[in-house]
């Protein structure tokens, strides 16, 4: 990514200067701290001292899961209006007639959203340092969890950018982005669970192929990836990729989604004269 990308610079100027980015970041860290504080209070009041003394084992996963949830909610909004807003404020024509290549536009806009995403992820680092110092979780696992969150954020940003090139109205682009994320993180597990419930009615139990599909679906889920990482999900004997950690396949799947989204966005921008 080219750092001297004019669109990236302009987006940074407008985004970082406004009060909004400050408020979002503050709100994000506040929500995380509040939840952490609550969990810690409940723990220290109700749990035996042996648990409290290794509170990190509970607090770190809580922090990571809550953060993953927040990313699902806010990352899709970062670039969902990237193109729609330019069209709404009638600056898109000016951008198209300039010498900006479609790739400049894509990387400038998505890059700006990423820098925003990085900012929020970095904002939580002091908190994770605190919970990690309470012990219980390996530093490497925390790093991988952050990688999973980062990749998920990148994917959601790219997908919402693609929606912004497809939909004229910014609001619709936002909604579609949110629905896509909900579909990815909620509908897939729901489907998996539905199949599992269905399978329990099978005579002679579910077939191997069926189990394989259910576990493949799970491999698309970042929450499952983190759960596997921090708690270790049991894998049935002989299932596809039994020995491969879920997070690896999930990250690869998401990177694939990112590539597809960026590819379609580029294609769409290259044909801008057909839909402008």
């Amino acid at each position: 990514m080219n750092i001297s990308n004019p669109i990236l610079i302009k987006e940074m100027r407008t985004r970082m200067r406004g009060r909004r980015s400050f408020l979002v970041l503050t709100g994000y860290v506040l929500v995380l701290s509040l939840i952490l504080g609550l969990v810690y209070l409940v723990l220290s009041n109700n749990a035996p001292t042996s648990v409290v003394s290794s509170a990190g084992r509970y607090l770190t996963p809580v922090l990571i899961f809550v953060q993953m949830g927040l990313i699902c909610l806010i990352a899709p909004t970062f670039s969902a209006s990237a193109i729609s807003s330019e069209r709404e404020q009638e600056t898109f024509d000016l951008l198209v007639v300039s010498l900006a290549r479609p790739s400049t536009i894509v990387f400038g806009k998505v890059g700006a959203s990423l820098s925003y995403l990085l900012l929020t992820l970095f904002g939580s680092l002091p908190l994770i340092a605190l919970t990690w110092s309470l012990g219980g979780v390996a530093l490497g696992d925390v790093a991988i969890a952050y990688l999973v969150m980062l990749v998920a954020g990148v994917t959601y940003c790219s997908m919402s950018f693609m929606w912004s090139t497809l939909v004229r109205r910014g609001v619709f682009a936002q909604l579609l982005s949110l629905f896509t994320v909900i579909f990815l993180v909620a509908a897939m597990p729901a489907l998996a669970m539905f199949f599992t419930a269905l399978a329990s009615n099978f005579s002679g139990g579910p077939s191997q192929g069926f189990i394989n599909v259910v576990y493949l679906l799970m491999r698309t889920n970042p929450f499952a990836a983190i759960a596997y990482l921090l708690f270790g999900l049991p894998m049935p004997q002989g299932v596809w990729m039994e020995k491969v950690p879920i997070w690896i396949t999930q990250v690869i799947f998401y990177l694939g989604l990112t590539a597809l989204s960026l590819f379609f966005s580029l294609r769409r921008l290259e044909r801008v004269r057909k839909w402008l």
């Binding site: 001297s4 610079i9 200067r17 009638e90 600056t91 024509d93």
Partner: protein, 318 residues
């Protein structure tokens, strides 16, 4: 093209250009050539197809049929080369409200790959040209509408384009600001740029355009150098007559004659187009007086642009 038969100097070129929106032809088989250094006034009433034509030239829209080129580069196959040499100002445009004026210009300067070392100079120059130098560090949001319009014009000039496509650059401005825009376009003309400027107000363009094209309902009705077009109507003498009392009978009397083409009356003054021999116009005066009209004044003038416009657009002036 008038005194300029050499086609290689034509900067903007349209050949049988047609643009359909669904099935509606917004631009219908338009052919046009604009020579280098020309200030071309593109005139037509609302909905005539001016914006559609300019958007195709600005590489924002593909023609349904026909060929367009600027500076020899084809609009469809070489949009990037075209973009390098054109500055386009849309009729409805936006500005990034949350930037400073210089940042706004810096943004476009970098989008147009203006050499970073020369960027500061380029920004100062266009700010100077558009009279916005004192607003350099202001928020775009805080500018008045007219200032935003000038800022957009400044951004259009930032990469020193050879060809300017200005779609109603003066719309929504007060008379003073209109004059300033006009001065600015004159200045650009002196700098040797080829300018295409659209308007639905003919008089706004008349005094600084070197050539014009008149478009209505997607069809180009007339185009060429202003002197050529006025020449086409030469021999046609415009008469302005005022009479004492009710002009009605006089208008009727004029309408009856075969050598009078169009008679209009705005209360007092009667305007008529005389197609007969210019040296026999005294006969007409005699005819009127014989008819009982009490003629207060009887003047003839050469057909000006307004007349041409009225003539070719059948009186549809927006």
């Amino acid at each position: 093209m008038g005194d300029n038969p050499n086609n290689t100097t034509s900067m903007i070129r349209l050949e049988n250009v047609t643009k359909y929106y669904k099935t509606f032809p917004a631009v219908n088989n338009v052919s046009l050539e604009i020579a280098r250094g020309e200030v071309f006034g593109f005139i037509g009433p609302n909905g005539a197809g001016k914006t559609t034509t300019i958007k195709m030239l600005a590489t924002l829209m593909l023609p349904s049929d026909g060929r367009l080129s600027i500076g020899g580069y084809d609009i469809v196959s070489e949009p990037h080369e075209v973009r390098r040499i054109i500055g386009y100002m849309p009729d409805s445009f936006g500005v990034y409200e949350d930037l400073l004026v210089w940042e706004y210009l810096d943004y476009f300067a970098s989008l147009y790959k203006v050499d970073p070392a020369r960027r500061g100079r380029a920004i100062s120059d266009v700010l100077e040209l558009t009279d916005l130098a004192i607003k350099r560090d202001s928020q775009v949001m805080s500018l008045s509408r007219g200032m935003k319009q000038r800022l957009c014009l400044a951004k259009t000039l930032i990469h020193d384009p050879e060809v300017l496509l200005l779609d109603e650059p003066a719309s929504g401005l007060d008379p003073h600001a209109r004059i300033e825009i006009r001065e600015l376009i004159r200045e650009l003309c002196r700098m040797g740029k080829t300018v295409l400027v659209s308007s639905h107000i003919l008089t706004e363009l008349a005094d600084f355009c070197t050539s014009i094209g008149i478009i209505e309902a997607g069809c180009l009705l007339a185009s060429g150098r202003i002197d050529d077009i006025t020449h086409q109507l030469a021999g046609h003498v415009m008469l302005e007559i005022t009479v004492k009392g009710d002009p009605g009978p006089c208008v009727d009397a004029l309408s009856e004659r075969a050598d009078i083409e169009r008679v209009t009356c705005d209360g007092r003054a009667i305007r008529a187009e005389y197609t007969g021999d210019a040296n026999e116009v005294d006969e007409l005066l005699e005819y009127l007086i014989r008819g009982g009209a009490r003629v207060l004044s009887f003047t003839r003038s050469e057909a000006d642009l307004e007349d041409i416009f009225l003539k070719v657009t059948r009186g549809v002036v927006a």
